[in-house]
Point group: C2
Amino acid sequence: MKKYCFGVDVGGTTIKMGLFDVDGNVLDKWEIVTRTENGGVNVLPDIAKAVEDKMTEKSITKEEVAGVGVGVPGPVDAKGIVHRCVNLGWDEFNVNDKLGQLVGMPVMAGNDANVAALGEMWKGGGQGHNDLVVVTLGTGVGGGIIINGKMLTGANGAGGEIGHIHVQDGEPEECGCGNKGCLEQYASATGIVRIAKRILEKTQQATVLNADSVTAKDVWDAVKAGDAVAIQVAEQFGKYLGEGLAAIAGVVNPEAFVIGGGVSKAGEILLSYVEKNYKPVVFHGSRDVKFALATLGNDAGIFGAAKLVLG
Amino acid sequence: MKKYCFGVDVGGTTIKMGLFDVDGNVLDKWEIVTRTENGGVNVLPDIAKAVEDKMTEKSITKEEVAGVGVGVPGPVDAKGIVHRCVNLGWDEFNVNDKLGQLVGMPVMAGNDANVAALGEMWKGGGQGHNDLVVVTLGTGVGGGIIINGKMLTGANGAGGEIGHIHVQDGEPEECGCGNKGCLEQYASATGIVRIAKRILEKTQQATVLNADSVTAKDVWDAVKAGDAVAIQVAEQFGKYLGEGLAAIAGVVNPEAFVIGGGVSKAGEILLSYVEKNYKPVVFHGSRDVKFALATLGNDAGIFGAAKLVLG
């Protein structure tokens, strides 16, 4: 009888770990350092050791554990094969097989954004929905798409890479992916700063925003205070993201969009700018989609990883 | 032992019917008229009668038939519930249940574009692929998305409605869906004519195209003959469709795009304009996707319907 599972969220600096019961209650939560040196050769052994140490500490046997779910910061296909993972120094190999051999239990790996989406569906802002899109607005823009309760992985693990949808011709700066005009260049924290700086360069209007030091948080705080220039920034952000999500809805027709990541701390006001730009351009079959904020924060990854291995 | 199945493709004027063996060979193919009067009340009984007549003619018993698959010109959810079907006069009801009762065999219904995509995957231009997007360029632009061998239906049957992705701000004319600036307004047969007329209005260049009578076929024939104005039209078409498909790839990361519909008769040259606009803006994980032409033509629907019920 399976009583437990582990959810692991591998980041470039720390690895978040969670011990869950099979109903999704967190029994323990801790972090270990990500040792990326030597092509990240220590990462999986470190995870295996952390899992085994925890089982010893809690007197848990392998027979009681459903397995270990893992979110990885790079494309992972449906078989668990990771196709290069720059942040960890990893090349191509099968995470399910390799970590599975180390722990002697079933392992299921997925892309971290997709796995986080599964977490928000299971225990976060997407509860009650089987078809949803989770958008993470942080330093970049990540996405995870859940269709009929399962992650949309894509042919080679690049499903849900919505931050790199082309939304603007003529953008002079390059995105991290090498293209120009990606959604991420306008809807991420750094994207909001980019929009703000461009508007601040040209405007004569009074504003609390300072072009030298402006952050995404400054912009949203100023929007809430009624700052006219900040509202212009929010409008542009809302148009890029609202129209981007409308395109995504035209493809997958989700029940809900769940918005998370640091930028989403701005709260409901952010959703309002997205929704008002979404509705006029979306196909009517997706017009009444629900917009919600993510609720699990940095824990979405461990929850989703646990759900992934529970199935 | 199941030996046969029926594939039915319901259109606004005719209903295409096919009798298949379970390996996907067409044993017989015929059409009946779509009687749309009285809220389309006769459509399902007419299909049931056509199925029964064919079974009598061929001495096939119900025990030998896996079921009846049906493609319907409107949104159909995963349970077979049709949510209004304007072309047939239908309101909301469950096609699987209603036709199932009439024929006394399993029935599976889906949206016609999604079902056609399943057909192209099974026996057409998408053979060998499990994750693909089929784009139908006809009077409108339809789409069908296959993930892991199954149709992406969406929350209420509007999955794959890619013709209504917003691709252009400031479009003065309305799309059939009521929005402005939909992909369909530029990439369909009528969309190509729209682009051509707008270019012809302004250009001084010599061209074989005539603004009063130009068709999509005229444009592609002129492109092949090297007509400079027609090439401008093809470039614009390619930019809209190429960038639209790149956005779709950012969402689902397919193995292949399969392009069908009347416009696709232009052939490989059409794909070249799409691909060259797709590659520069798509996320690198989807850059090497395969572009192929659909091969089943008007039969994609009956093939896909058969596959739908065979599972």
